[in-house]
Symmetry: C2
Subunit: 407 residues, 2 copies
């Protein structure tokens, strides 16, 4: 094998369901020099990052940290740490990532009960409460935004329902956090997880997580300090978490004042995660959500003006992604290929029943902007026409501009 | 909270047991623009990175990938994917990271048998074979280099022993790979894992792994494609791997031609991991090991010339790190603090019985260089004197220079 040169990625405007193009300053932060894992600067940066993410999550939870892995690492850490084998878990499934929660809970030994609704819909709180009464789960695990369908499950009433029935309330907000309202404390969340590669505008590889005191108490009741660093008097529970890497008790001890060695924190990902939160808070949490709302509304108006049929219940769509039916007679994958090859713009398809049936177009993080919306719509119009669809000239761009003009 | 500015780490020369200062071009690679996860450039980069790591590991194993997490993520992926609950695992423990292997195997439900030797020593192959005959394990799990003691376990005879007794042979080479000989195929390894933050000269957060065909067959026998993307005819084993994130079968399907969605590959970490391997191979595998041997020999000569007592069996020391006893009367942590605060140089202490008793000084990856060795020795001489130790003026630097002069 000839040794290749340094990496030179092609220019891409990532307008799919994520990952999306990172904020330039996040990429700059990723290349900052490393420091040692117990350097005062490192521990101060970890503390500072915790405080930044408390604001992102809208929580006072002390237990607000990063899990070193992609979004599903955070999901697995939450589930495997919160449930014991045999515990009942209720998962409302409204897309592919609901299935993922059932999958992860099943692997962790849970007795998983799911309720399902048609892809493109969400659940009324009453339906979830009925299932809670019937199943009596230890944990309710629900995705906030299921990127496979673009739907956003309303969470604001579920915390009170869970509290009433003594159920832990967990959500995964990977696809939604930063671009849609999220209130960890006000909504009564016991655990929430996310990733950087959607509305937070960073690379995949770090999973922000926050845990309520109730969740931490469950985790602490299963504490087991690992052999090799255990000291006299350290806990050693028999019903320990069935993963070392995802044992949130040990992860909290590493982030907490005891700084008990666990993994070696992924320093560059920490720098990136910190910058994602810093940018969001510097712009303002509400301002960022508004920017996503406007970009999402402009993209929605644009694709509708191009004559595309929007998939699912638009009233419950995430701000940051829209799914459209691929028009009859248009070769979907080839058209996506032309978007990428000719314009350098990526849009996505979806999973399972929606694979090859819809395109998903995202407007998130750094790319929730007027220029990216307009460029994408202009390119899409051109590609649709070339692939045989009948599209009104300039309609998509005009409709999107109208949304921006009306703000 | 006032929103802080962009990250500006202090200048540090990381001469501890790792993480160490990354190669500048690795940091540059970390800030390269993102592409989509199924972009032709992305999948080509994944393929290319696999091929680079095959050369790093000295293997033809098709199943050579990255696990998205820190080194212990790779360890847990290997162990949880290779063993079923109740399987016997044999772990020869000669330091803290041997204990970690027992811990991770125990969490995965294994019946763990360990043999121990004094910290600072390694095992003769015959002792490991005797234990294999007695325990009849499914898996032998052994650390190659245990950074807690600096010892390097010889592996070259263990593959044949494992093959003879029908035992899977796994090693973690996090602390050693790149700075010490490693021959995955020639030594008969079934699984090996590593991390970037030691001799490979990158940040923590990505774990290279390679698996033999025999290991892949075990993993494939437990295949379960997750709900949400499962298609008719896909495997759905009852003895599935008890983790979704660490199910190497699904990770291989994501890296393989089927490109079956699992996690979203951590693009920036991939870029960094690729550059680590690229640099190593461009310099030459043997040349890099020789550079580590020389830097390690120079540091060893330097600390001995400063009158420091080296810990452990020097004949079995890793090239890339040395442990020295903290001299009587010297306040170890304060002296390390002075190294960091006054000179910007980090050295480490160790874990468990060695905490506060030894310092560990690393010469790895980018920092396996003459200038870093000399600078560290000059600073250490100054600090030792200021903290009350009697040290020969210039002796450490002179001794190290002599090693370089003799090369």
């Amino acid at each position: 094998m000839t040794i290749p040169g340094s990496i030179v990625p092609p220019a891409r405007l990532l307008m799919g369901p994520g990952p999306i193009s990172a904020y330039p300053s996040v990429l700059t932060a990723m290349s900052a020099p490393l420091v040692g894992q117990y350097d005062p600067f490192m521990t101060a940066t970890m503390n500072e990052t915790q405080e930044l993410y408390r604001q992102v999550w809208a929580t006072t939870n002390d237990a607000t940290v990063l899990v070193d892995g992609t979004s599903r690492a955070g999901i697995e850490a939450a589930i495997v740490s919160l449930i014991r084998p045999g515990d009942r878990v209720l998962v409302p499934v409204f897309g592919r990532f609901g299935h993922l929660l059932t999958e992860i809970a099943e692997r962790a030994g849970a007795e998983v009960h799911k309720i399902e609704t048609e892809w493109g819909q969400v659940f009324p709180a009453s339906v979830i409460e009925e299932a809670i009464v019937r199943v009596k789960p230890t944990l309710l695990a629900v995705v906030q935004g299921d990127t496979s369908t673009t739907m956003l499950q309303p969470l604001e009433d579920l915390g009170a329902i869970c509290a009433k029935h003594g159920v832990l309330f967990y959500t995964d907000a990977t696809a939604s956090l930063g671009g849609n309202a999220f209130e960890a404390d006000a909504w009564g969340l016991d655990a929430a997880t996310s990733g950087l590669q959607k509305c937070l505008g960073g690379p995949s590889g770090s999973s922000p997580i926050t845990l309520s005191e109730k969740a931490v108490a469950v985790i602490r009741s299963r504490a087991k300090i690992e052999a090799g660093i255990r000291e006299d008097g350290d806990p050693d529970a028999a019903d320990f978490v069935r993963s070392n890497y995802f044992d949130l008790g040990m992860i909290l001890d590493y982030w907490g004042p005891r700084r008990l060695n666990h993994h070696t924190e992924a320093t560059s990902m920490l720098y990136g995660a910190r910058e994602c939160a810093r940018l969001l808070l510097a712009e303002g949490r509400d301002a960022v959500i508004t920017r996503h709302e406007i970009a999402g509304a402009a993209m929605l108006a644009g694709v509708e003006a191009l004559g595309l049929q929007v998939f699912g219940d638009v009233a419950h769509k995430m701000t940051n992604v829209v799914a459209v039916e691929i028009p009859e007679g248009v070769a979907g994958d080839a058209a996506r290929g032309a978007m990428l090859d000719d314009f350098g713009i990526e849009i996505g398809t979806s999973f399972g029943p929606l694979h090859g049936r819809v395109w998903r177009i995202g407007t998130m993080g750094y790319n929730a902007r007027k220029d990216t919306v307009l460029t994408t719509l202009a390119a899409l119009e051109s590609v649709l026409r070339r692939f045989g669809a009948s599209v009104p000239a300039g309609g998509g761009v005009e409709a999107a501009l109208d949304v921006y003009a009306g703000v």
